[in-house]
Amino acid sequence: MTTTKEIIDRCEKLYEDMDFTAARAWKEAAPGRHVIGYMPIYVPREIIHAAGMLPLGILGGGDQLEVIHGDAYYQSYICRIPRSTIELAVSGKLDFTDGMLFPSICDVIRNLSGMWQLMMSDKYARYFDVPQNYQDDVGGVYYTQELHELKEDLEKISGRKITNEDLRKSIAVYNENRRLIKDLYELRRKAPWKVPTTEVYLLLRAGMVLPVEEHSQMLKDYIEAASTEDRPLRDNCRIVIQGMFCEQPPLNLIKSIELAGCYIVGDDFMMVTRWLTEDVPLDGDPLENLSQAFLHHSENVSAKYVDREEDKGIYLVDLVKKNGGEGVIFTSPSFCDPALLDRPLLQDVLKAHGVPYIAFKYAENSGQMQPIREQAGTFADSIKLWSEQ
């Protein structure tokens, strides 16, 4: 049986590989293959997969990529992910991709879609909008049509039709992947000492660059290995982290929180892997099913509009409760509009429910972790010493 260490070592190599060697190798393995990049937070990867293409998650350059050209494209006050994503493009690291999808998340990613169109006019670049109206006959009709347009775009690139059967097969493959990620999170909930969040993070990152089938096998292997391996239980508190749904934290930031005495039992990493909360049905019209799943069975993050005041932030309270969380750490990228504008609202909701919280900011290339470790450590101590539970 493969050990967790072997699996995580592989994930770490994939994480550090800014040349996307695995995705390049996938493309080169057979003629006529295409790779479509996408940015956070959600795109329907099933449609890309059904077109016989590899969906490739592009999450910036992290703390490993030196941004030389990217800074010249942006003003002083802006988050870091667009700078390093531009760097990836300008330095040729994405030259093997056949297109990019820029989902609706904020104005920065939205405008990046236009920059891509200006920079690479010969390549496919689509701003992928999703409805903020969740009524079937309003937002639903709009979104289903958007899915049709995306499908047609991909058909033009691949030169072949995507059948309903192709879509159903892909939906089934992604249903399985989502189930496995749920299992992974459930294992972490039950025994967080066996499933460090640093490893969960790396496993999810691997899912951004590997074919979904290979990623699902990796998840199965990890769950099996982690369930049987013995790891020491520590006197840590259980916390939920929020705000990392777009620009990625340095791996050391997650490690620092864990080393400061926190078991992370809830997070918003790579929401694309679990945006749809239930299996998408395989019978009926597949695009309609994807649309319905988006409208009625999807996750919440700060980029999503909440229609009713009484529902605002409840997802976070539920996440804390479901996972036995004792507090929330808001870790948001500097200049992240969705996370930072939403933070006071979420904090108010937590306060009303008696959930303690702290907040700090990071950038994907933050290097100094000592203040974060001290803040998280103090928070963990305060929960352990003064929690009423």
Binding site: S76, I78, N111, R126, V141, D337, L340
Partner: protein, 433 residues
């Protein structure tokens, strides 16, 4: 370069009739807002880009525009302390200062720029057009006021032009969500013929507004399409579009501009007519409001006039052909929302700016990158380079903020502008040689 003028007694600000009309309109709306509770009028808050003012008027709502309050407070030097108030209450230093100026004002009792208390909203009309922050802004206000909120999601134009799917989606939201909510809140039944009448007025005002905008093609330009346009856009971008008063205002403005053209006059600045037009610029991005006059002075002192600006299009790109259409009322409202400047993708924005530089015979493109506003600012450096490449005219880039005085550095801005004017001179000499 002109030597800096010693700061003596403040010059008397010169205003023409249209400016007085515009001021009376703005003051009148604040007065209506102040009386709304006593008169039992229902109040809607909404945003400028993609606003559905004509539709709101169909429900007899008094409309408050939080961005305008932030601007007015910025010009009156009040916004800085409101922003600090919001930051003390937990709002990040990184986010939009319009939002924080508004929230700070709310936390301090919601005393409006006219020193009278603004009424609480009965409905937040969240027209989510061209700016992600709007969505969070009204979630924040809703959290405070616990009032009804209705969202109009206007899809971004990620490709070239809007799709039928997007337009249909907006129309459906109007029919199935927005109108029923406004009927419920106001107690007034929707009358589409009333909407048509307002749209007819809008159309008339829009015709004259476009004429005024295009008057800047003259040499010298009779208007300043950025600083001066801040006053001109106010009626058509806010609570007056669709009213006979707005129609009258634009007719009057047109007459004044016609007269200035006939007299060969330049734009009116706070210090009188600008006599020597030396540089013609296109500007992309909003202005700074906390030092608005000082900022403007940096231009007119050097003989620089703004002949076209993208900011004067955030409430509608009428100069590219859009007009409200009373024969297709809801469709036309939807198209208006889709067509606001920041709802266009970057290639389209570049195309517009390129058109301005060429058609208005500008010397170049100046970008004012706003710390608060990613909707405008993200990607502007690339836009500048692209416009430079296409037009052969030099570009320049400065950074300020909308209403946060901490981010307006006069010395830096002036320095950059002076370098830019020198660059234009150099380019002219090179071309002449």
């Amino acid at each position: 370069m002109t030597a800096p003028t010693p700061t003596a007694a403040k010059p008397t600000v010169q205003k023409d009739r249209s400016m007085a009309m515009q001021k009376a309109m703005v003051d009148g709306n604040y007065a209506r807002l102040a009386r709304a509770e006593a008169e039992r009028r229902k109040v809607a808050y909404t945003f400028v880009p993609g606003n559905i003012n004509e539709l709101l008027m169909c429900f007899d709502l008094v409309v408050n525009y939080p961005e305008i309050n932030a601007i007015q407070n910025g010009m009156r030097k009040k916004s800085g302390r409101y922003i600090m108030e919001a930051e003390k209450a937990g709002h990040s230093e990184d986010v939009c200062t319009y939002v924080k100026a508004d929230i700070g004002m709310m936390l301090k009792g919601n005393i409006g720029p006219n020193d009278e208390r603004l009424p609480n909203p009965d409905v937040l009309m969240l027209s989510y057009t061209g700016c992600f922050t709007f969505m969070k802004w009204f979630e924040l206000l809703r959290h405070h006021y616990k009032c009804e909120t209705t969202m109009l999601h206007v899809p971004y134009e990620g490709g070239s032009g809007f799709s039928k799917n997007s337009r249909d989606y907006v129309v459906k939201q109007l029919k199935e969500t927005v109108i029923p909510t406004l009927e419920r809140v106001s107690g007034v039944k929707f009358d589409i013929d009333r909407l048509r009448e307002y749209l007819k007025e809008s159309q008339k005002a829009e015709e004259n507004w476009v004429w005024v905008l295009e008057s800047a093609k003259h040499k010298p330009s009779p208007i300043d399409s950025y600083f001066g346009a801040i006053y001109y856009i106010s009626p058509i971008f806010t609570a007056f579009r669709g009213t006979p008063t707005a129609t009258e205002y634009y007719a009057e403005l047109r007459k004044e501009v016609e007269q200035r053209i006939a007299n060969g006059q330049g734009p009116i600045t706070p210090e009188g007519e600008m006599k020597n037009e030396k540089y013609r610029l296109v500007v992309e991005g909003p202005p700074n409001y906390t030092s608005f006059r000082d900022f403007w002075k940096m231009f007119y002192d050097e003989g620089a006039v703004i002949v076209a600006s993208s900011y004067a299009k955030v409430g509608g790109t009428y100069d590219f052909g859009f007009r409200h259409d009373p024969d297709h009322p809801l469709e036309s409202v939807a198209e208006y929302c889709l067509n606001c400047y920041t709802n266009h993708n970057l290639p389209e924005r570049v195309r517009m700016l390129e058109t301005y530089v060429n058609e208005y015979q500008a010397d170049g493109l100046l970008i004012n990158s706003i710390k608060s506003c990613n909707s405008f600012a993200a990607g502007q450096l690339m836009m500048m380079k692209e416009v430079q490449k296409r037009t052969g005219k030099p570009g320049a880039f400065i950074e300020t903020d909308l209403v946060d005085p901490r981010y307006f550095s006069p010395a830096n801005v002036k320095n950059r502008l002076e370098s830019y004017f020198q660059m234009i001179d150099q380019k002219r000499r090179a071309t002449a040689a």
